[in-house]
């Protein structure tokens, strides 16, 4: 019982699933797509389907990649002696925007959360330890979110890395506790990276 023909109401329904998109916005976007040139609509559809089929995890850092390695791991200008550990690939983009870090990353894909039954074995932690062992890595900077789960994950990783004879540091408390790194502004995040401390 819709005023729209089925293909249109389908498009609105699918757009509405996207984060931050309410019914009004979904309707506006759908009309924009339909009223625009056919080629644009096809380009958008192809970009979505290509991204879904081509994107996989980087074999080294578990960032999104279209090859075995992501563009950051492939970049020979990056300093392989620093690894910044983040919860989520989205955090890489937040940190890259600061232009304050020239090392490599390691994406955990979550945090330890005993209450949700998520243990270290569900995250890319073993992979991190294996990666650091016997590598030229000098410092691991742990940039998990400044909340209870992020801190617990940082403590756990640093305990495991103690055996690897590598410097382990935690980004500074300049970040407001409880906020997500993903939403931090560049200035705050740069300061947090500069003021990291050894743990």
């Amino acid at each position: 019982m819709s005023y729209y023909s089925e293909p249109l109401s389908n498009l609105i329904k699918e757009l509405q699933r996207l984060p931050g998109i309410g019914p009004k916005t979904a309707q506006r976007l759908a009309f924009f797509i339909i009223e625009g040139p056919a080629a644009n609509g096809e380009k958008l559809a192809r970009a979505i389907s290509l991204a879904k089929t081509e994107i996989r995890f980087c074999k080294q850092c578990f960032n999104f990649a279209s090859d075995d390695l992501c563009p950051i791991c492939l970049n020979s200008k990056r300093d392989g002696s620093f690894i910044c550990v983040v919860e989520d690939a989205k955090d890489i983009f937040a940190i890259e925007k600061t232009h304050h870090f020239n090392g490599l990353y390691h994406v955990l894909h979550g945090t330890i959360s005993p209450i949700d039954g998520i243990g270290p074995e569900h995250l890319k932690i073993t992979e991190l330890i294996e990666r650091v062992k016997g590598s030229p890595v000098k410092e691991v900077v742990i940039a998990t979110n400044p909340n209870v789960e992020g801190e617990q994950t940082a403590m756990y990783i640093s305990k495991l890395l103690k055996e690897c004879k590598v410097k382990v540091s935690r980004i500074a408390s300049g970040l407001p506790v409880g906020g997500d790194i993903e939403y931090a502004d560049e200035v705050t995040l740069s300061r947090a990276l500069d003021g990291r401390h050894e743990i």
Partner: protein
């Protein structure tokens, strides 16, 4: 009887103290915060905009935080409109084993409490237990076990540790039955295939943890084997009677078995 207009409006706002049990991301920037409160029992409420780094709530609505709160009663969920810290149990969150035991407490409160039923003793005991856990160096596990037994008693889930659950005998108590929910004498245990052996010291420890106030815990003498048996039986009793898996306790067990297998190698 009709209330004056001003008082009616005030009914939608309520104030109480509470401890954050867990949080859950909602949409882009909000979170649902589950708390155990003093006046209203367990409450799940929305904290708006909390994940933005400039949020006025900041770190305040994280697990292991005790707060003075004001809620606004919505049609479905309440909203947290004000939150002032009473105490952050950072002694708990600053160390890996303490944090696991702390989470085990939060999970048990969450699982045993039902929204809409209030019991100020639960809030008060959780506050006391977290405070003690953050200060205790020896006997951290004992703090959790004491908490478990007292909370089971408050919630009506305490196993019968007084006398034989079958025949009320006060002596010759050798077994624990999960199906009958309590201790058994040798004779009754023979006809209950679900029963397991329990040491006399373990029964004594359960009784003494139930009766000892937290401040007297340092005087409770026990050993690892007795405490281990108690924990094992209590955890199984909880899963049996609530038909739930306690994820944090599974997590603690998994970590412990990983540690011991590492030491063996």
């Amino acid at each position: 009887m009709t209330r004056p207009e001003s008082e009616k409006r005030d009914l939608r706002n309520f104030k109480t103290r509470g401890i954050v049990l867990k949080t859950f991301k909602l949409g882009e920037a909000d979170k649902i915060i589950t708390l155990i409160t003093e006046a209203e029992g367990k409450i799940a409420a929305v904290a708006k905009g909390i994940r933005r780094t400039k949020s006025r709530f900041g770190a305040r609505l994280e697990p292991f935080t005790n707060l003075n709160l004001i809620f606004y009663k919505g049609r479905n969920l309440s909203t947290i409109t004000s939150a002032d810290i009473i105490k952050v149990y950072d002694g708990v969150t600053g160390e890996l084993d303490r944090i696991d035991y702390g989470y085990a407490m939060l999970e048990l409160v969450d699982k045993l409490s039902v929204e809409g039923q209030s019991d100020p003793r639960i809030y008060n005991m959780l506050a006391k237990s977290l405070d003690l856990l953050s200060r205790t160096d020896n006997g951290k596990r004992l703090v959790l076990s004491t908490f478990d037994i007292k909370l089971l008693a408050f919630s009506g889930f305490l196993p019968n540790i007084n006398e034989c659950t079958g025949c009320s005998s006060k002596t010759g108590l050798t077994d624990f039955s999960f199906t009958q929910g309590g201790i058994l004498c040798k004779r009754c245990a023979d006809s209950d295939p679900s029963s397991v052996n329990i040491n006399g010291d373990t029964i004594e420890l359960m009784r003494s943890l139930l009766l000892t106030p937290f401040k007297g815990l340092k005087d409770v003498k026990t050993d690892t084997a007795t405490l281990g048996e108690l924990n094992n039986i209590i955890d199984k009793h909880i899963s049996y009677h609530l038909s739930i898996r306690l994820r944090v306790r599974d997590f603690i067990d998994r970590q412990a078995s990983k540690e011991s297998s590492k030491q063996r190698i």
